[in-house]
């Protein structure tokens, strides 16, 4: 290990191992371009033509752009509000941890991480329906509130490591607590904000259970939920189904291709905390 020579046996093993990850994706992409007749032949073969028919048909059938719009709407607002509000709450807690009430609040939020979703699932559905929150806005509110649990934990640790002198200097210059947070602390939180934004984005985009139980109106379905709703219609036509899956996965994969470095390090930072 001491020399700088490349370890080829390990490199080779790892390259072979990626087949296990890439093969299902290869199948998904090629099948999405095939016709039902081609499915009888070799499944590993490339499609005869790269026709977009399956995609246009799947777009129409699942009302794809509507679902995409819903997912994008929910994800963007959840990310923005989570980062802005959760960091602010964590700041209030972090700067007052010596007080009983704030210490209690910290443990109150953090301990909720241990509560499995099914225990609140049945009542929350009744409650959101009764309050007219069984829609995308309700979904956004719930995500932002639930995220407090994990984010308080990671933000508070980070904020406490920021020296108070930085704030005091700003206070002497006449800044209010509010001003101190937005102009001094929030920018310093940038690495943590990125981590929270990435984890929140992936969570909101891919979540299936909360939209499934909460949204009663089909027009509000998010991308994963739409795949579930159309599953029965797809069952006879895998080509359409896979075209639909590809389109649902594509936005995140595209983001990942360009930002994988930040996504991996963001997730890593969030979990080491």
């Amino acid at each position: 290990m001491s020399n700088k020579r490349t370890n080829w046996p390990v490199t080779t093993l790892l390259i072979v191992g990626t087949l296990l990850i890439l093969l299902p994706l290869y199948l998904t992409i090629t099948i999405a371009f095939k016709t039902p007749q081609e499915m009888a032949g070799n499944l590993l073969a490339l499609p005869k033509s790269w026709s977009l028919d399956n995609f246009t048909q799947a777009i129409e059938m699942t009302n794809f752009f509507n679902a995409l719009g819903n997912s994008v709407f929910v994800t963007i607002f959840v990310v923005i509000f989570t980062v802005l509000t959760n960091s602010l709450v964590a700041y209030a807690i972090a700067r007052n941890m010596h007080k009983k009430a704030y210490k209690f609040l910290f443990y109150y939020f953090v301990s909720a991480m241990f509560i499995p979703f099914p225990i609140i699932m049945l009542p929350i559905v009744k409650q959101t329906a009764a309050w007219g929150m069984d829609n995308l806005v309700g979904l956004i509110i719930l995500y932002v509130v639930f995220n407090l649990s994990f984010n308080t934990f990671i933000y508070v640790g980070y904020i406490r490591s920021i020296p108070k002198e930085l704030e005091e200097a700003a206070v002497i210059d006449g800044a209010s607590t509010w001003g101190v947070f937005w102009r001094v602390i929030f920018p310093l939180l940038a690495p943590m904000n990125a981590t929270v934004a990435i984890i929140t984005c992936l969570g909101a985009w891919n979540d299936f259970m909360l939209p499934l139980v909460m949204l009663s109106d089909r027009d509000m379905a998010t991308l994963p939920l739409v795949q579930y709703i159309f599953q029965s219609q797809f069952s006879t036509n895998y080509n359409l189904a896979f075209a639909s899956y590809i389109m649902a996965l594509a936005p995140m994969i595209i983001v990942y291709i360009f930002a994988q470095k930040w996504i991996i390090s963001g997730v890593m930072k969030g979990s080491i905390k």
Binding site: I119, M252, I272
Partner: protein, 288 residues
């Protein structure tokens, strides 16, 4: 000045507390409350004491769900940790294409679990049997998801396929903190790969091992999406997890109160398992 500052902190903290209470704590308390009643989710109800709790322990479907969920969670946790540690050590070695390989191994983490499940559903139903037939491999020719005894293995496979990504990254974060000269010193002492692993690598990444075991176990105990996409709990109810049972019974079966009791038991089980795991693993960390 001081008072005004405290006032601002309160204006931030109090709404956060109220919102969290309304949307998280209150529903949880409601669930606990109704678990002592016979409410169907609609209509009248009355208190029934501990009846729901006692019935869960007598309910074979519920016991089977617990049995399946534990079996699935324990085996998946072990497999995920073995594979992700191996991959992480591979990625930490002096390899070519390091960044690309890391990006590919992390890719499953960003994909929707439900859609991945649907894709693997096809692989188990059509692709693998097709390969089995053309190569004459008897074992592959049948769809394991359709077999009462084997369907759970399909779910383990998909869960592991996807979860290895996240745990690999965590282990990698631990491995890069180990200084190279420790290995060099061990090499001079004549230590082989195996000794290096048990005496250097493993003790130094013990905290990461703890986090990985606890997180993986907790996530797998809540398994839901994979099952919806792969088997829907079938064949029969052989792959019905606790989450799926609560969802089905609560929303489709008119068992609001009964499944609330089940959810409370489930919650206690998860907390107890997490605490035991933490205690046990932390003790090992301290020893090593």
């Amino acid at each position: 000045m001081m008072n005004k500052k405290n006032y601002v902190y309160m204006i931030i903290a109090i709404p956060a507390f109220i919102l969290f209470f309304i949307f998280h704590t209150y529903p949880a308390l409601q669930g606990i409350f109704y678990s002592f009643t016979d409410w169907k989710g609609y209509g009248d109800w009355s208190f029934v004491g501990l009846k729901n709790y006692l019935n869960v322990f007598k309910d074979e479907r519920a016991l089977d769900a617990y049995g399946f969920t534990f079996k699935f969670a324990v085996i998946s946790t072990i497999l995920v940790n073995i594979f992700s540690l191996l991959i992480a050590m591979g990625l930490n070695a002096k390899i070519k294409f390091h960044k690309t390989l890391r990006a590919i191994y992390f890719l499953p983490y960003i994909l929707s679990i439900l859609i991945v499940g649907f894709i693997f559903n096809f692989i188990f139903t059509h692709f693998l049997p097709g390969i089995g037939e053309s190569l004459g491999i008897e074992f592959l020719t049948k769809n394991i998801l359709g077999d009462q005894k084997l369907a759970w293995l399909g779910i383990v496979l998909v869960a592991v396929w996807q979860s290895v990504a996240f745990n690999t990254i965590l282990y990698l974060a631990g491995l890069v903190t180990i200084p190279e000269d420790l290995y060099e010193a061990a090499s001079i002492d004549g230590a082989g790969i195996w000794r290096k692993f048990w005496n250097i690598t493993f003790p130094l990444i013990a905290p990461f091992f703890t986090i990985n075991m606890v997180l993986a176990m907790k996530n797998f105990l809540m398994v839901f999406d994979q099952i919806v996409a792969l088997t829907g709990g079938g064949p029969g109810t052989s792959t019905e997890s606790i989450s799926l049972l609560i969802y089905r019974g609560g929303f489709e079966g008119g068992e609001f109160a009964y499944q609330s009791a089940n959810a409370v038991i489930y919650f206690i089980v998860i907390v107890v398992i997490s605490i035991i795991q933490l205690k046990f693993l932390e003790k090992r960390e301290a020893e090593s």
